[in-house]
Amino acid sequence: MKQKYYPYIPVLLAYIVLFLIGKGVSGMWQLMSMLFFYCALGQAFNIFLGMTGYVDFGYVAFLGVGTYGMAITISKLSHIQGYGVLIIIAGFFLSMFMATLLSLAVGAVALRLRGAYFAIATIGVNEGFRFLIEGAKIWNGSEGIIFMSDLNRVIGSKTASSLCTFWADVFVVIIALLAAFVTLIYMRSKIGYALMALREDEDAAKVMGINVTKYKIIAFITSACFAGLLGASAWALKTPYVFPPEVFEIHYTVEAIIIVLLGGAGTLLGPIVGGLVYGLSKYYLSVIIPGFQLLIFAPIVIIIIILFPEGIIGMIKKGTKGKWIKRYIIY
């Protein structure tokens, strides 16, 4: 029964190692915090994209509302003195709540659609939502919210800056670990098998007695919640401002897709591997050949899609089906 959770050990170790490198080697923390972000992004998106095979092209919208959730809480509650930490926690809750709400709305609409239609619908949701915010001047419209001063007032400028520079990243790591854990729990439960079945053959899955809609929505909401939290910490707390065009930038969705695909969709270890490979290559490409990263990266992605559709972990996993290494490490 215990061994159920062994596959979590490598995940845990990976993040601990990254954390130690970041703390230990001077000047490394920033690179690590970037990697944390990408890994967490992949980990969260994997729960939906990887496990259901549905391509949500509007995923970044959930990070967006998450960012707004934190921004709104802090700027609205900043006048209350002496509850700093509580306000931050409240912010996380609002972020999660808003992300859940949006995911429910989107799920109710878009999850009736399949394949390309679903992808297009979700793009529509993301863009539409952004233009609604700008057009109807919701949450200050295009001017966004700059809440540094509020954050200072809430927890004091010293704490605020250590929040921006250190704790926000720690939260990201925690979110990543949580997402990974939930992924594992799902994989080892009926949810995981139901999702696998509907990913492979939705109609057959129905006939087998699987309530596909239910399981799709479970995965969708879970994934969206983590996205909301991620937005709240990696964007709102790390940069105390939010401008609509920045938080609904579709390229973040694409990055997330690449990470998941690179590491291996629907695998536990995939997002970390994908996040590391993507983050590092992106970082060093931009150091070596600033401005030409994409020119190199785009064809590489195409080649990977064609040659290794299962992603790095996916391939290893396939090779090790039923062997002990798979049961404990590659999952």
């Binding site: 696998m196 079945a197 492979e200 006939v207 087998m208 007695g209 309530n211 396939k318």
Partner: protein, 246 residues
């Protein structure tokens, strides 16, 4: 009371009628063969029984419960299992996992945990004795192996009614007989009613089925014990009509 009962069921697609006012009964544990040439509406009939389509007219009762408009995923737990004409395995999963999924969401599903499901899967695989395939990934199976796996998956659902769409097509006679005898054995033990659908009247069906329903252009032309059915002039006509094509 009958296990399955279709009352005046009709299904249309656009203009044309696929299933025309069909009345049909299946008793617990019986072996029923549904025979009919291509396009006679067999697959549509199955899709109506397990809820892929809803009928335009008529009622479908299962164990006396009206399931006419019940979603397919709610029918499997009642005990309706199915195999497809072209097997539809979950390709990325191992054979064991495929079969286990059957158990997980089948009739016993609600009171089975993961491990329980895998035990049942193991049992079924052992009975069909293809342990050698147990940990193979479904995408690497041969078509026949896929069919076998699908039957195992369906049996793991512990169905009361098993709908088999061209289950033995493409198998060589040896394994067909094996299969048939195996199915009979299981069916008897677990009181499964098997509805096996075939395009042509073949020994397997004859041996297996106690009763045959012959479909033609969406309606039942004959519903009789196997021996009488096979000698029925209407049937012969239908199949002579088809003979030329073969």
């Amino acid at each position: 009371m009958h296990l399955l009962e279709l009352i005046g069921v009709t299904k249309r697609f656009g203009g044309l009628v696929a299933i025309n006012k069909i009345d049909m009964k299946v008793n617990e544990g019986e072996f029923l063969g549904v025979v009919g040439p291509n396009g006679s509406g067999k697959t549509t009939l199955f899709n109506l029984i397990n809820g892929v389509y809803f009928p335009d007219e008529g009622k479908i009762l299962f164990n006396g419960k009206d399931i006419t408009r019940l979603a397919p995923y709610r029918r499997a737990p009642l005990g309706i299992g199915r195999t497809f004409q072209i097997p539809r395995p979950f390709l990325s999963a191992t054979v064991l996992e495929n079969v286990a999924v059957g158990a997980m969401f089948g009739r016993m599903g609600s009171d089975l945990n993961i491990d329980g499901a895998f035990e049942i899967a193991d049992q079924v695989i052992n009975r069909l004795n293809f342990q050698n395939l147990r940990d193979k990934i479904a995408s690497n199976l041969t078509p026949i192996e896929k069919k076998m796996m699908e039957i195992a998956r369906a049996l793991a659902m512990k169905p009361l009614l098993l709908l088999m769409d061209e289950a033995m097509a493409g198998m060589h006679p040896g394994s067909i007989n094996e299969m048939v005898s195996f199915l009979k054995q299981v069916a008897v033990e677990e009181k499964i009613a098997v509805v096996s659908m075939v395009e042509h009247i073949m020994r397997a069906v004859v041996e297996m089925a106690e009763r045959v329903v012959v479909l033609h252009q969406g309606s039942i032309i004959v519903d009789a014990p196997t021996k009488d059915a096979l000698t029925d002039p209407k049937v012969i006509e239908v199949y002579l009509g088809k003979a030329s094509e073969e």
